[in-house]
């Protein structure tokens, strides 16, 4: 393959957010080095400032519909990439704001923490734009590298070290699978760019290659049976990192999954639909049933996250434009509810020092605001109207029902009922049980801001979802050509009055 690199200045405009963020990352590290006495909180705000500037740039791209490809189609900037970048950066901003208090627990390298978070975000931005297998691999590993360090950031904490090790071993294993998958796919087709593969014949090597790639991405999104690292890693990692891990990488990996399944493998939909249906059913059921038995809120949210990914995969299994819209919408709803829930977990653990569900006893008395926010976030995750999660689930179910995936829908709906059970366990602890220690819990400004943003997102998307549906519909417009047409229309046979 010959690469002729023709780069003009205007091409680099497409990379502007990434370039800017890279420079900003260097600034953050330099500032940390140059003035070690600077309160680390300032570094957080400095990072947030850079991220917000990047967000502004992306928003400008989105409004002006800037798009294009770079480096021989390796890097693509389309509206979907922009959507996912905004998603990733938005969650990064919220995570950094939620970390400010927590960072005091770290004994060393408090400043580098922020730099690492921004670095991971940068890697994930590349993931959202990756358009061929190599750039996917590189960006995936780039972002995961930051996470390896972040997960084991509590140096003296055994659980955190264990989490880091587990995450690292399974992550590297997944990377190996991925590389092997790429080599098989490239060997069979001679192509790396997704859109070039669209017409490749289904040879055994290609199928195995894609299965390996799917497994590797399954690790990233934490779908069953690739979920084994999730509970321990979520449990052991510093809570803000858990929050970050539960949202941003899932979004970035889903961007890649969407491109692979719809663009590269769109023609094989009748085959892969079974794979996705199976993974989706198993993820939802396993995640929800195991969540019931959890005593630790972080583990509960970990398993609920596995189940939520099962829900997202319903949309992917539908494989239509509407299904993709639904995935994007669902992710938005999930972002606000999950980050909000984790923010409450961080705030409570700052006050109590533990994350067990029984520590939430009487939270309604101790801090009505935290308890009420948690209630809304959990109900949104459970899919109770009129919160964002409900509209998201509805969107996904309608997309799937349109494709006739009744089994999947039935399982999904029964799972809603199961999930309600364990979310209500937390609600019960907060509101029904009397607190052991009735002293009120105070929340600091940045944390409050995160919770308010979570609440606003959860409520606004639920009550007035139109701008968001418009946004996701526009973001996946490029899929309209690839996706196989909707199920054939059968004319109704019975007429009223006949």
């Amino acid at each position: 393959m010959n690469f002729v690199l023709n780069l003009s200045f205007s091409d680099l405009l497409l990379l502007l957010p990434e370039i800017f963020l890279t420079c900003w990352l260097c600034v953050v590290i330099t500032v940390d080095f140059v003035s070690p006495r600077l309160p680390k909180e300032r570094l957080a705000y400095l990072s947030v400032g850079g991220l917000l500037a990047t967000l502004g740039c992306l928003a400008w791209f989105d409004v002006n519909q800037v798009s294009g490809t770079l480096f021989g189609n390796m890097f693509v900037l389309d509206r979907m990439a922009i959507f996912f970048k905004i998603f990733i950066l938005g969650s990064t901003v919220l995570v950094i704001l939620a970390s400010i208090e927590y960072v005091d627990r770290f004994t060393l390298f408090r400043g580098e923490y922020y730099a690492l978070v921004v670095m991971s975000a940068l890697g994930m931005m590349f993931m959202a734009s990756a358009n061929d297998l190599l750039s996917v691999f590189v960006s995936l590993e780039f972002s995961t590298l930051g996470f390896y360090i972040l997960v084991s950031y509590l140096r003296d904490d055994l659980a955190s070290n264990e989490a880091g090790l587990k995450f690292f071993i399974l992550g590297v294993f997944a990377a190996g699978l991925f590389a092997y998958g790429i080599s098989l796919v490239y060997g069979e087709t001679g192509k790396l760019v997704f859109s070039d593969m669209a017409s490749a014949p289904a040879t055994p090597g290609l199928i195995i290659g894609f299965l390996l790639i799917f497994a590797a991405l399954g690790f990233k999104i934490g779908a069953v049976p690739f979920h084994s690292w999730i509970p321990d890693t979520y449990h052991g990692a510093p809570t803000p990192v858990t929050a970050f891990l539960s949202i941003a990488p899932k979004g970035a990996a889903l961007a890649i999954l969407l491109r692979i399944f719809i663009v590269a493998l769109g023609t094989f939909k009748p085959t892969w639909i079974y794979l996705l249906v199976a993974v989706s059913i198993v993820s939802m059921t396993y995640g929800n049933i195991v969540a019931i038995a959890q005593r630790n809120i972080k583990r509960l949210l970990a398993y609920s996250g596995i189940a939520q990914i099962g829900n997202v995969l319903i949309g992917l299994a539908a494989g239509t434009k509407m299904g993709n819209d639904a995935i994007l919408f669902y992710l938005l709803a999930y972002l606000f509810a999950n980050i909000g829930a984790f923010a409450v977990v961080i705030a409570v653990s700052q006050a109590i020092g533990r994350d067990e569900i029984e520590d939430y006893r009487g939270l309604g008395r101790r801090s009505p605001f935290l308890a009420f926010s948690m209630l809304l976030f959990l109900l949104s995750l459970a899919g109770v109207p009129p919160l964002a999660g409900f509209i998201g689930k509805l969107y996904i179910f309608i997309a799937a029902i349109k494709e006739g995936l009744y089994t999947l829908i039935t399982v999904g709906l029964i799972n809603i009922v199961i999930s309600m059970y364990y979310y209500l366990i937390v609600v019960k602890q907060m509101y029904i049980n009397e607190p052991i220690d009735p002293s009120p819990i105070s929340i600091r400004g940045p944390m409050k801001a995160v919770i308010y943003v979570g609440l606003a997102g959860t409520l606004v998307i639920g009550i007035y979802p139109q701008p968001f549906t418009d946004w996701v519909v526009a973001a996946t417009l490029m899929f309209a050509n690839f996706v196989t047409p909707a199920a054939t229309i059968t004319p109704p046979t019975v007429l009223i009055g006949s």
Partner: protein, 518 residues
């Protein structure tokens, strides 16, 4: 006149959101007495608005009145669509009426976390109103589901029984289980509309609007599938036998106020007459469906009455009698004729006065003896004559004595049932006899005869607030019993349109009738 009302003033939105806005305002009030009086004010204003709607409602008309419609989520075809017709308007009034009474009842019976209780109650009122007012199926579903949250808290936090945690969870999980199936049914309706609309190049790609869905034909196989999916949702909520097992627990363990709302407002059966029957007329009258549903109804009548006969706890007795009464309603609905539908609709309203009234009586008894077990009573009529009198009036209404409201409704249902199938009617009649038996037996043992050993001699008769509740319920009972025609006139038009739709005779007229007044 109506057009102006629709355009100038969105009164239904006010009715819908007044309680929840009130609940939010209550959050900032600290004094408990102020909380109580402001809740009562809100409930009374709500009642006044509802009465206003009832007065301005044009009777004998099938039209959707006071309609309001705004796009909500165009991408999915979901709109904010409110309206009332002859089927729903009475429930709006009933909800507002019962809420006022519950507030009055809770005035001194709820002693802890008064503010939260009143907020839950008002939130519950909004969601209930939403169920009755919504014409968009998703909007309806939103309120249907939201209702669970205040109910859950009310049962858990203010329930009296030891098993209230179990009861609350069971209630939520059961109802949720039913409603997720209903959601599939709703989505299938939408997909069917979408397919039809794309064939006919209609503007709206998707729609959940009842009035738009009514214009689209649905293949019979699809109809039956959707019917059963929606049936599950409504049957769990109603609850129809054999999905009723949560009801005795919830009614026994929860607070009286919650029991009044749960047992007094027949949301599940309302769902049948509002959505299932008009949307799926062919399924509703297919032989299997009618057979299964009617047999379930008959089972409920007999089983509920039989179980009520052997209960020693008054609230449990009421729960089972509620199951039995719902059996009547279901049998009347699926007689699918004019009398049956009209009788069922009227009975649903009646139960809001009589069953809810008996729960208030149970509350009066509870506040005197801290239990509703039979053993705690006996010969109370001497001690508390007024309570005994109102107990008798409301109870007789519940068993359908002529002159009370219960008679009119049950009589119409039986008429409809006999007209549809004679054996259905004759089995249903047995329920009336059982009903008289269990009520009178309990009444006799608790109120008449020698004074029970557990009855305190210091027991006081009805207080002022209790009198207000008992008297206003009795007035409504006797009003509907002696002069039901204003109520029947309100529902006639819509019931007639429904019957016509079911029997295809005047399909065109129906379409005209169902279009909104502009």
């Amino acid at each position: 006149m109506l057009e102006e009302l629709t355009a100038v003033f969105p009164i239904l939105s006010c009715i819908l959101f007044l309680p929840v806005v009130g609940a939010i305002v209550l959050w900032f009030v600290d004094d408990e007495d102020t909380v109580r009086s402001s809740t009562l004010t809100i409930a009374l204003v709500e009642l006044a608005l509802s009465v206003f709607v009832l007065l301005r409602f044009v009777p004998e008309s099938a039209a959707m009145q006071f309609a309001e419609r705004v796009q909500w989520i165009p991408a999915l075809g979901i709109s904010y669509h409110l309206a009332v017709d002859g089927i729903s308007v009475l429930f709006v009034g009933l909800t507002a009426f019962l809420t006022v009474l519950v507030v009055v009842y809770s005035w001194d019976t709820i002693r802890h976390q008064v503010k939260l209780y009143m907020m839950c109650l008002l939130a519950l009122e909004t969601t209930t109103m939403g169920v009755f007012l919504s014409l968009d199926l998703i909007l309806f579903f939103v309120f249907w589901e939201l209702m669970l949250i205040p109910s859950y808290f009310m049962i858990k936090l203010w329930g009296g029984g030891a098993e209230r945690h179990y009861a609350a969870l069971k209630f939520v999980i059961y109802t949720l289980l039913g409603s997720v199936f209903m959601l599939v049914g709703i989505a299938l309706l939408d997909i069917n509309y979408h397919q039809w609309a794309s064939l006919h190049h209609s503007d709206h790609a998707y729609s959940f609007d009842l009035l738009e869905l009514l214009t689209v034909p649905i293949p019979i196989g699809q109809q039956i599938l959707i019917f059963w999916l929606m049936f599950l949702g409504f049957a769990f909520k109603a609850p129809v036998f054999p999905f009723h097992t949560w009801l005795p627990d919830a009614l026994l363990e929860g607070p009286i106020g919650m029991a009044v709302v749960l047992a007094g407002l027949k949301l599940g059966t309302f769902g049948f007459i509002r959505f299932s029957i008009p949307l799926l007329p062919d399924a509703s009258k297919s032989d299997t469906v009618v057979m299964v549903v009617v047999v379930l109804g008959l089972c409920a009548i007999l089983y509920g009455a039989w179980m009520a006969l052997v209960q020693s706890d008054f609230r449990r007795l009421l729960a089972y009698s509620s199951v039995s009464h719902l059996g009547f309603v279901v049998v009347g609905l699926f007689a699918l004729n004019y009398q049956g539908l009209q009788g069922s609709l009227l009975t649903m309203i009646n139960l809001g006065f009589s069953t809810a009234g008996l729960f208030f009586i149970a509350g009066f008894l509870y506040s005197r003896q801290q239990t509703t077990q039979l053993a705690a009573f006996g010969g109370m009529a001497r001690q508390v004559p007024l309570l005994a009198t109102f107990f008798l009036i409301i109870g007789l209404a519940s068993i359908g004595l002529p002159g009370t409201n219960g008679f009119v409704g049950e009589f119409l249902i039986l008429l409809g049932a006999f007209e549809a199938k004679w054996w259905v009617g004759s089995i249903a009649v047995l329920g009336v006899i059982f009903g008289a038996a269990y009520f009178l037996w309990y009444y006799e043992r608790s109120m008449l005869g020698p004074l029970g050993s557990a009855v305190k001699s210091t027991m006081s008769d009805l207080q002022l607030r209790e009198m207000v509740i008992a008297v206003s319920l009795s007035i409504m009972i006797l009003w509907i019993g002696l002069y039901p025609s204003p109520f029947l006139r309100i529902m006639n038009g819509s019931v007639q349109a429904l019957v016509d739709r079911l029997h295809h005779e005047k399909t065109a007229a129906l379409h005209d009738g169902m279009t909104e007044r502009r």
